[in-house]
């Protein structure tokens, strides 16, 4: 009887600690580190933009919320607000590009117009351009 109570008490304490740990972990969840995460898709900027242009709803289902590694040539680098910059990549379209948003902390020295880059980000969807957020440059795959 005594042993049984001990085991039960231990189980209750264990479950309580696990629950608190899990709760804290969820509460302190960080935005995914796209530099370290494995990409769900690896594409060129031209291919990605064309998929959205040809069939927006199919491309949305395929890519939104996924981590995409995209390779392309930088068309423009512009500040979005006080803490973000937008890097747009050339595509087959004159008016529609792939725009990757970066936080201003971090090394952005490789972001110059005309540079070939590989970037990784979470796909938010398509308005006039394909929009990727929480982006990170991928250095060793130029």
């Amino acid at each position: 009887m005594k042993n049984w109570i001990k085991v039960a008490l231990f189980a209750v304490v264990f479950i309580a600690v696990a629950a608190v740990w899990f709760g804290l972990h969820e509460f302190n969840l960080k935005h995914p580190d796209t530099a370290k995460a494995k990409p769900d898709f690896v594409v060129t900027a031209t291919t990605l933009q064309k998929e959205f242009e040809d069939n927006e709803s199919a491309a949305s289902s395929k890519y939104i919320n996924k981590i995409i590694e995209v390779k392309g040539t930088i068309a423009t680098v512009t500040p979005a607000d006080s803490s973000h910059i937008n890097v747009s990549l050339k595509t087959g379209s004159d008016i529609s590009s792939v725009i990757c948003t970066f936080t201003t902390s971090g090394d952005h020295s490789m972001f110059r117009t005309g540079e070939e880059v590989t970037l990784r980000g979470e796909c938010s969807g398509f308005l006039m351009d394909v929009l990727l957020n929480n982006c990170a440059p991928i250095m060793n795959q130029k």
Binding site: E26, F27, N28, L29, K30, H31, S60, S61, I64, N65, T78, A80, D81, H84, N86, I99, T101, E122, C123, S124, G125, F126, L127, M128, D129, L131, N133
Partner: protein
């Protein structure tokens, strides 16, 4: 000389007619509610907006995934549980300035406007009427507005435990900096 003047006059009309649309790809929309524990604030800096100054028509499109929250868990709940952004990726506003006569787009200055239109969030459309300002500046037009929305009006279901913690309505802030669309 007369022919040249006529040509210049005609050309200016044609150019003016094409210079009626203004656009931004970095429009700002945020929503906010205070709670006892922490404030709910989602910011979107990737709003696409078009303003036609000949008709007063305004259209905004915003991706739900582009709303950023300080707390990643809040952003996850917002996207996956409340807004279902993988199924409904966008929110759209289509409206019109109702007091165009009070705005002089050729003169720099700030003008008070009323905008009426259809706001679609989570695939639900409601008519809204909001007050804001149009600021005509050199090289562009800035539009600003603040209004409130009630999530339940857009069939956004938030569980009671969470919902009770913040206000019935959320304050939405719009800030657009439009530049003219170049002739193509």
């Amino acid at each position: 000389m007369k022919r040249l003047l006529l040509f210049v006059f005609f050309l200016s009309i044609v150019l003016a007619a094409n210079a009626q649309k203004f656009m931004t790809k970095n429009g700002f929309i945020s929503f906010y509610s205070h709670t006892p524990m922490e404030d709910i604030k989602g910011d979107n800096n990737q709003v696409v907006g078009v303003l036609d100054i000949s008709t007063g028509e305004m259209v905004f499109q915003a991706l739900i995934k582009s709303f950023h929250f300080d707390r990643a868990l809040m952003e996850e709940h917002f996207n996956e549980n409340y807004m279902e952004s993988d199924k409904i990726p966008k929110s759209v506003f289509k409206g019109k300035i109702t007091n165009m006569a009070s705005v002089d787009f050729t003169k720099n200055g700030t003008y008070n406007v009323t905008v009426d239109g259809d706001l679609t969030i989570h695939d639900v459309t409601n008519k809204i009427s909001t007050k804001g300002t149009i600021e005509v500046v050199s090289g562009g037009i800035n539009a600003n507005s603040k209004f409130n929305i009630v999530p339940e009006d857009y069939k956004i279901v938030i569980p009671g435990v969470v919902r009770d913690k913040f206000d019935k309505s959320l304050e939405v802030t719009i800030a657009m900096k439009y530049t003219p669309i170049a002739n193509k």
